[in-house]
């Protein structure tokens, strides 16, 4: 064919920057996720506790509104403090877990069972981009119901209380951020790792539940039998809860004192779990597998 007859031209326009390429995955994932009425409903319910929180904070500071109900500030039996925020952070991360159980397992399972990984990876998208893209689905969803609204409420409360409360309670904001992100990263990693290994998405949901239920009797039994606190470390849910207590500067009520390991070991156990997930992901997220 003569050169002048070549009419084919490849795309020469601008492309999205490489660093933001992974965002394509959550964008499409959200379309699918919110098609499910069940999920959309649950997601809406996730905001209910936040609404309750807002109302509580509002009334706590608004004597005239209280008076309308014939109440005074002293009638309200709670304080807006670390404990208050801890309770709600706990509720929100609990919801986050449920959302992850619903959304997480489809993330990679579907691509694997439909042999879609090669399709992704043959485009300018690296394995890391792919995994980060998938994790960011959970990251965005959980951010929306955890640290973003909780911090806003913290600012709201600080605004109502004044500067001294702000400075005294800044640790609450830090705790909210750290706890939320610990949950987000851990849940996103667990969900992607499990869904990469289990083609059946329902099995992946089950496994996510199992990671948070099977260790309960094991860790208590190990602690009891060996009178040690190391058993606590194998249970991510215990670990997260203990960390939450520490960060919100509260006494731990869930486990007796002797079962509580030092803080650094709590962090270490989470990091080990995260590394295991990363390892599992890097073994499985591949364009092809060599079969021996």
């Amino acid at each position: 064919m003569a050169v002048y007859q070549h009419t084919y031209q490849h795309y020469a326009g601008v492309t999205t920057p490489l660093w933001s390429r992974f965002l394509i995955l959550p964008r499409y994932a959200f379309q699918g996720v919110f098609q499910s009425k069940l999920f959309t409903g649950l997601f809406a319910i996730c905001f209910a506790p936040l609404l309750v929180m807002t109302i509580l904070i509002y009334f706590k500071h608004n004597t005239t509104a209280l008076a309308a109900f014939g109440l005074s500030v002293s009638d309200i039996g709670f304080n807006i403090n670390g404990f208050f925020f801890r309770v709600f952070t706990n509720i929100q991360t609990g919801f986050g877990f449920l959302l992850t159980v619903i959304v997480g397992p489809v993330l990679i399972s579907r691509d694997l069972s439909n042999n879609a990984l090669p399709l992704y990876l043959c485009r300018p998208l690296t394995r890391t981009d792919y995994v980060i893209g998938k994790m960011s689905v959970i990251g965005f969803l959980l951010s929306l119901i955890t640290w973003v609204p909780l911090l806003l409420l913290f600012f709201f409360e600080a605004y109502l209380e004044g500067a001294s409360w702000w400075w005294e309670n800044l640790f609450i904001a830090r705790a909210v951020l750290v706890v939320s992100w610990a949950h987000i990263i851990l849940l996103a990693l667990l969900a992607t790792a499990l869904s990469a290994w289990l083609k059946w998405r329902i099995a992946a949901s089950g496994a996510l539940f199992a990671v948070f239920t099977i260790p309960t009797p094991i860790s208590i039994m190990v602690n009891e039998m060996f009178s040690t606190n190391l058993g606590t470390l194998i249970h991510p849910s215990f670990v997260l809860n203990l960390l939450m207590d520490k960060l919100f500067r509260l006494e731990s009520g869930m486990l007796p004192d002797w079962m509580v390991p030092p803080t650094w070991s709590l962090w270490a156990s989470l990091i080990v779990l995260a590394l295991i997930c990363v390892g599992l992901l890097s073994l499985k997220v591949r364009a092809y597998e060599v079969v021996k």
Partner: protein, 331 residues
């Protein structure tokens, strides 16, 4: 609904075959919820190679799954050699099905895959070994048989599934696009194998998109479109039945536009295309006799010079084109 064109396969052959040797569909319909799979299928299929031809989504796989009991008909009845798939213990001694699912139980080598399911049939170790070796040899995969299926190429997977479906020596073999992914040599081999099996008196039901191969190997064709059987019978027979269906004719002449204006006036002409080089045209007519009459008259009454007149051949491609309406690409 259009009438089904039902051409008796060479009359004598059909009469000598009893119901015990036929595959019979009696008014079979299958709906997937609202979606039509196949509708009101009535078929009687005698031994030999029967090809199932139709565009994507026309219901070929549905028909085959119905035949083998992988799905149940919404209405109607399917009998294969007078057996029903609801009694698998007897039925699947007679029937082998190579489905379109390109998937395997985890962790087997090609040999183990074929062998294991023979054991499930109930064959003893020695028999199963012998039958496995023979089936794998027939598809020409003996060398790769000891490797894991998960590491096979597409054509190898296709072949090992073929081996699995014929290993228990059934008398009816249903094959869903068995030539998919095979290289030209393997295709020829496979077709030879099918021919061989058919000559042994087996039923082979084969779906395929590659028309010239269907043309070459089939004793009979079934055309299916949008869930309806459009025609069935021998390729030639089907073609003859289509007399009143449009026929394509190519005319090479010096004044194609002039001829075209004459042709347009006639009601039996369906379509006229003038060739790009303006040295000929392409005509589609419903009535060939009238067309040739007209052509004669035009030649006599004008100074039109005709170089050639040719009908597009009576092969399957043409039949497919008429019945199904979709142009075959790359043929």
């Amino acid at each position: 609904m259009e009438a089904v064109i039902n051409i008796p396969i060479s009359q004598t052959a059909k009469e000598s075959v009893t119901a015990e040797q036929m595959i019979v569909f009696e008014d079979v319909s299958k709906f997937y919820g609202e979606i039509l799979g196949v509708n009101r299928v009535n078929l009687q299929i005698a031994p030999g190679i029967t090809s199932l031809v139709g565009p994507n989504g026309s219901g070929k796989t549905t028909l085959m799954n119905l035949m083998t009991g992988l799905i149940q008909p919404t209405r109607g009845r399917v009998k294969v050699l007078d057996y029903s798939a609801n009694d698998p213990e007897i039925f699947f001694r007679k029937v082998g099905y190579c489905s379109q699912f390109d998937s395997f139980p985890a962790g087997h080598t090609g040999y183990e895959f074929v062998y294991s399911y023979l054991r499930v049939h109930g064959y003893a170790k020695n028999d199963a070994d012998r039958m496995t070796a023979r089936a794998i040899e027939r598809v020409g995969l003996t060398e790769a048989a000891k490797r894991k299926v998960a590491g096979y190429s597409k054509g190898m997977r296709q072949r090992i599934r073929l081996a699995q479906s014929i290993a228990h020596q059934p008398s009816v073999i249903v094959l869903d696009e068995p030539l998919n992914g095979l290289d030209p040599m393997a295709r020829a081999e496979a077709i030879r194998l099918f021919r061989e099996l058919a000559d042994e008196g087996l039923h082979l039901i084969i779906s395929s998109h590659i028309l010239h191969e269907v043309n070459k190997m089939s004793d009979r064709v079934i055309f299916i479109k949008e869930g309806y059987i459009k025609a069935e019978g021998e390729v030639q027979g089907v073609r003859n039945e289509l007399e009143e269906h449009p026929l394509q004719i190519v005319v090479r002449c010096d004044q194609p536009s002039f001829l075209a204006t004459k042709l347009f006036a006639e009601p039996h002409i369906v379509e006229v295309h003038i060739h790009d080089d303006r040295k000929g045209l392409f005509v589609k007519t419903r009535n060939t006799d009238k067309f040739y009459d007209l052509l004669n008259r035009v030649v006599v009454t004008s100074d039109l010079n005709i170089e050639t007149v040719a009908t597009v051949d009576n092969d399957l491609n043409a039949v497919y084109h008429y019945l199904i309406g979709a142009r075959q690409e790359g043929e």
